[in-house]
Symmetry: C2
Subunit: 152 residues, 2 copies
DNA sequence: TCGAATTCCGACCGGTATTGTCTTATTTTA
DNA sequence: TAAAATAAGACAATACCGGTCGGAATTCGA
């Protein structure tokens, strides 16, 4: 399978929506209703994105969420990781693991390399690209990634 | 998360083991015990790999499994898909889906593109590469994939 | 010819993670 | 002050996955 979680899907939908909204804030309810997503769940997703500094929240009657920075400086990888935690292809992908087969595993290193490649695939797709729904001009592989934004 | 299933991990471990074995067959029990994997589960994994024509099985007392073709002609993607079915990043990745948000989803196409990139990442890593545990010389992206083997 | 080793196949169970709901508190604006 | 919104945590429902079990069918060797 190798699926994203539904929360991650919802997060990407919301991020694209907010990117298209420009500087105008949108509430959880508004987004949720537009895409047929349970309101409370959407709210939670947005909260987590805000805590991870991908969104800026504003409480109160006319409140809502806005992107914290230009969508060109945020990648799909950023969103996924904000919601689901670090991308780990196998249990052993993180160093401090309790994988049963750690000692005898014979494919750990190659899979770790694959994980890296997946990560750069996710990292080179920006939210801006999501919003425009057009592939960016092809980077020379590994040259530039929106995941590595110089300053927060 | 974005994890492989454990069955897929076991499958890759077994494939590498068999690749290193060369032409000598290995039984499910033998592999399972060597890597600390439950025997019945390992057996199931191998059965599925055999049914998908990645392995050749031989029943009976001195039976076991062998690779069906050169490990250079099988990719990690082949193994993953044999075990877990087609790689689908989202529910909507397959055309005939019952995703709730299908009608209103705004990120379907870009995510489909990401799926393609992940698939080529998995497709360009061969079982032979797993076995040697050395990265192949970098392909020009998309040029050649072990997934597209000309003849069975 | 018999028995042991092995692949094959389906059903089933249990735990865990994920999804989704509910409730309450807090903040802000009109 | 009331309404609208975020913030946060508890909790139920459910789906999925890892693992187990039992019973065939097949093959080899003694």
């Amino acid at each position: 399978m190798l699926r994203f979680s539904k929360k991650a899907d919802y997060a990407l939908i919301a991020m694209k929506h907010l990117a298209l909204r420009g500087d105008q804030a949108a509430s959880a309810r508004e987004i949720a209703e537009q895409y047929g997503i349970p309101v409370e769940l959407m709210a939670k997703v947005l909260q987590r994105l805000a805590r991870r500094d991908l969104l800026v929240s504003h409480q109160g009657t006319r409140g809502g969420y806005k992107l914290s920075r230009s969508p060109r400086l945020m990648s799909v990888a950023d969103v996924i990781q904000a919601i689901d935690g670090p991308v780990t292809v196998t249990a052993c992908s993180t160093q401090d693991d309790q994988c049963e087969q750690y000692a005898t595993c014979n494919v750990r290193d190659p899979l770790w390399r694959i994980k890296e490649r997946i990560l750069t695939a996710l990292g080179t797709c920006t939210i801006a690209e999501l919003a425009s729904d057009a592939p960016e001009p092809v980077h020379p592989p590994g040259t530039q990634s929106a995941t590595w934004h110089p300053s927060a």
